[in-house]
Amino acid sequence: MSMISEALVILRSIKPAGLLVFLAVLISLAAFPLVVESPYAHHIMILIFLSVIMGQSWNILGGYTGQYSVGHAAYFGTGAYTTMMLMQYQQVPPWFGMFAGAATAIAMALIIGSICFRLRGPYFVLASIAAAEILRLSALNTKELTNGAEGILATDIPPLKIGSLVVTDFLTKVPFYYTALVFALLIIAVTCIVQHSKLGFYFQAIREDQDAAHSLGINLNLHKNLSLAISAAFTSLAGSFYAVYIGFIDPTTVLSMDMSVQIVLICIIGGIGTIMGPVVGSLVLVPLSEALRSNLITQGLISAGLVSEESPVGAFLKENLAHAHVLIYGILVVVVILYMPEGVLGFVRNMVRARERSNS
């Protein structure tokens, strides 16, 4: 009964205009692969969805509950490795493997949480990093299990079947597109539900002031672990998806601190503790780093006549800018922290408010 009235309250709070925009976006996303055929465009969209899943998962723990984990590669890698190992060594299709991955990630989260959640502030951050590093080194050192530093290459992905009916064979990017889209919508929906529930209130209270929250009847350990479990499960789904989609994983990609940092950045750049933050962060980061990776920017500079292809600068850019996408992450973080501490979203919101104020 109360669930229904809750749902009604949420529904009533949605404005018709917002609903229309949301439906329009949803329909265009669903229709996108039918209209645009370029696999590269599909690829970019898939990367954006993947980034949304990663960012939104972290957001639940970092943004809403205020626990700054810089070790989420642990869960991403757990998902990736579980799914990949089951698929390559046990012929378990990834549709089942990824749930095994999520379960393993939750178990891992509870172990790591039981250690890290006793610590606060910078000590929590350090412990989360150490835990993820232990996992990375373990994956490197258990060659019999994980193939160590050489990583695991996916040879072929079994088609998704219901009974004998083949739903899809994953030969093009389109099935990946829809899978990633559904996951991204799912985690956004979960975040919405959490935000509008008791759980969300408790998470945010913990973020604002742990001691005050504790004194108001909030079981800190239980709620931090719940938040981490949700976050870890979805992060591991992202990892599983990544493994199957890219077809290759090794400890230095899926379990590295760089991965952990990247997950945090998606949120920070967009704006933490908001539903749209990770979406905005992904929309900024993915196209930017892809443009660099594929040398689009150099090409653009050259064709705009700003640098000549033969000049040493042009040659240097052409040679090196492709490797610079992480550099851009670094620069973005510094700029965001110094000039937009509430992320791009908060920055824009404040700009709009300032303009409204000056107009009125």
């Binding site: 610590l119 350090l126 412990a127 150490a130 945090v264 490797h323 992480v326 620069i331 973080v333 922290i337």
Partner: protein
Amino acid sequence: MDSASMQPVLLFLQSLISGILVGGVYALIGIGLTIIFGVMRIINFAHGDIMMIGMYLTFNLFNLFGIDPFASVLICIPLMFLFGGLLQKLFVNRVLNALPQNQILLTIGLGLIMSNTVMLIYTSDYKILTTSYSSGSFKFMGISISEPLAISFIITAVITGLLYWFLMKTDMGQAIRATAQDRQAAQLMGIDVRRMSIISFGLGAALAGTAGALISPTYYIFPQIGSTFTLKAFVITVLGGMGSVIGATLGGILIGIAESLGAVYISSGWKEVLVYMIFLLVLLFKPSGLLGKSRV
């Protein structure tokens, strides 16, 4: 000598000694981090990357001008001091009152910029700095000791001694310690805490850069080497108690020994796991550090 054929006692002593020698350099990195934390209450996630810059600096001084890596310490210290001071003045000073997580992210961002800029210039290939003594060693009571490690340990000891003298005996050192103890009180006493912050970050960077110079004859040099050392520096400072210089010195040596013994008696692949396990245990059971007073 092949370690498998050594007598157990000699093997133990040898790995203990090489652990202590490496630990000396670790201590330098840790001391730098702990000074920065003590004065600013900021955990510098770019610390390993600053060390990496010191490595490349040394590498270039050696390759371009033929300057010996140990001699280059004399150039490294002032340059890295300036570099660190600049970082503090331009960036870190502006987030001193920000949320701790934003401070952490800022230094992470700075670290990413450093490592990736170096990668753009030098590619991510491993570089080796080979000196005439790089693989040299001498025997001492049957124990073989690596020459570059021994020299770097001596230099480390001298620098640490000078640092203690600076912190304890000079006016500026006392001002730094006062700032670390109580920023507000120091400010009321007329100490220019912003300047002390710049000097402290400079010192921290100089120490990290020096450590980079000292290990460059024995380690591969590559842009991403920083993050492992950042983590190691955390372990060392937490072990010794955040903000304690003596603690960081002991912590560094302890981690050097743990790694060296771990590599011999467990396996070199698992030695770092051992270090992080120790780290977590200390965080859990003695968060104020092995030397620090317990809080409650």
